[in-house]
Subunit: 148 residues, 2 copies
C-alpha cells in the first residue's frame, strides 16, 4: 500500500499512514525517540527479522522521518546509523497520543518501558487538543467535512 | 500480528497498534468520527474490498473501539451499524496528531476532506503535549526509560 497514493491523497491522515501505517514502523520511531540509532539496537529491542527491519527503515528514510548517517564502530567496517529528522521528532505527539490511549483503554498489568516527559522539568506529559494555548476537553473535539 | 501480544505488552504504543496498526483500521475510525456508521458507507468512502472491511470492523469491535447496533433499513433485512465507544471517541486525539503531522510534513496540493474543530466554537484544533493545562513546546518533549 505504501506510496500508491503518494503525497497527493487529500486526507492527511492517509498521507501519514502511507509512511506509518504498520506496527513495526511506529515501534522503530518509538525507539528512535528514546535514543536508538543503530540497526543492531533496533533489532534487539524489537525482535523483528532483519529483512523486515531493513524494509521499514527504508520506508522511514524515504518518508523523511529518518536520515542515514555513517559511523565507524570500534571494530569492523563503516555502517549507517539512523537519525530522526525534524519531521521524525514531531511524531512524538502521535506516539504520546497512542500511548496515552492504550494506558487508558487497553490497560496492562505490566508497567510501560518508556514515558513522555517535559525535558526541563521531568513532568509527565499528556496529549491534548488546543486552540491557541487553551486546552479543549476531548469531548468537545468534533470532526466535520471541510468545504473544498 | 493482531492479538498475539494481547493486552499484556508492556509498551502502550504496541498495545494501541495491536488494534490500530494498519492503514484501513484508522481510516475506518476517521470515517466513524465524521459520523459514518453503515458498512456500505464505509465501503463507498474507503473503496476497500468487502472482506477486508469486514475483517477490520471485526478487529475494531474486538478491540473495544466500535460496537455493533442493529438497524432496520427502509427496505430489506435488519443490519448492523457500527458506533464508536467512548474509547473509540478518544482516538480523535490520535487522528488529530496524525493529520496535523502530515499537513506539516507531507503537504499535498489537495485540500483535506475533514477538519478537527472545537464543537462549541468551530475553531480549528491542533494537537499538543500538556502538563496540567500548560502547553509544552514540541521541542521540549522527551522520551525516557521508565523505572520499573
Amino acid at each position: 500500500m505504501l506510496g500508491i497514493l503518494g503525497g497527493e491523497d487529500r486526507c492527511p491522515i492517509a498521507r501519514s499512514l502511507d509512511v506509518l501505517g504498520e506496527k513495526w514502523t511506529l515501534m522503530i520511531v518509538r525507539d528512535a525517540l528514546a535514543g536508538t540509532t543503530r540497526f543492531s539496537e533496533f533489532q534487539a529491542s524489537l525482535g523483528v527479522p532483519r529483512d523486515v527491519l531493513a524494509s521499514r527503515l527504508d520506508t522511514l528514510v524515504d518518508g523523511g522521518v529518518l536520515v542515514r548517517r555513517p559511523y565507524k564502530p570500534d571494530t569492523g567496517r563503516t555502517r549507517d546509523e539512523y537519525i530522526l529528522t525534524e519531521a521524525g521528532q514531531e511524531l512524538s505527539l502521535v506516539l504520546l497520543a497512542l500511548g496515552d490511549w492504550a494506558n487508558r483503554n487497553r490497560p496492562s498489568s505490566e508497567s510501560p518501558t518508556l514515558e513522555f516527559v517535559e525535558s526541563g522539568t521531568g513532568r509527565r506529559l499528556r496529549p491534548a487538543a488546543v486552540v491557541g494555548d487553551r486546552v479543549v476537553p476531548t469531548a468537545d473535539i468534533a470532526v466535520r467535512p471541510r468545504d473544498r
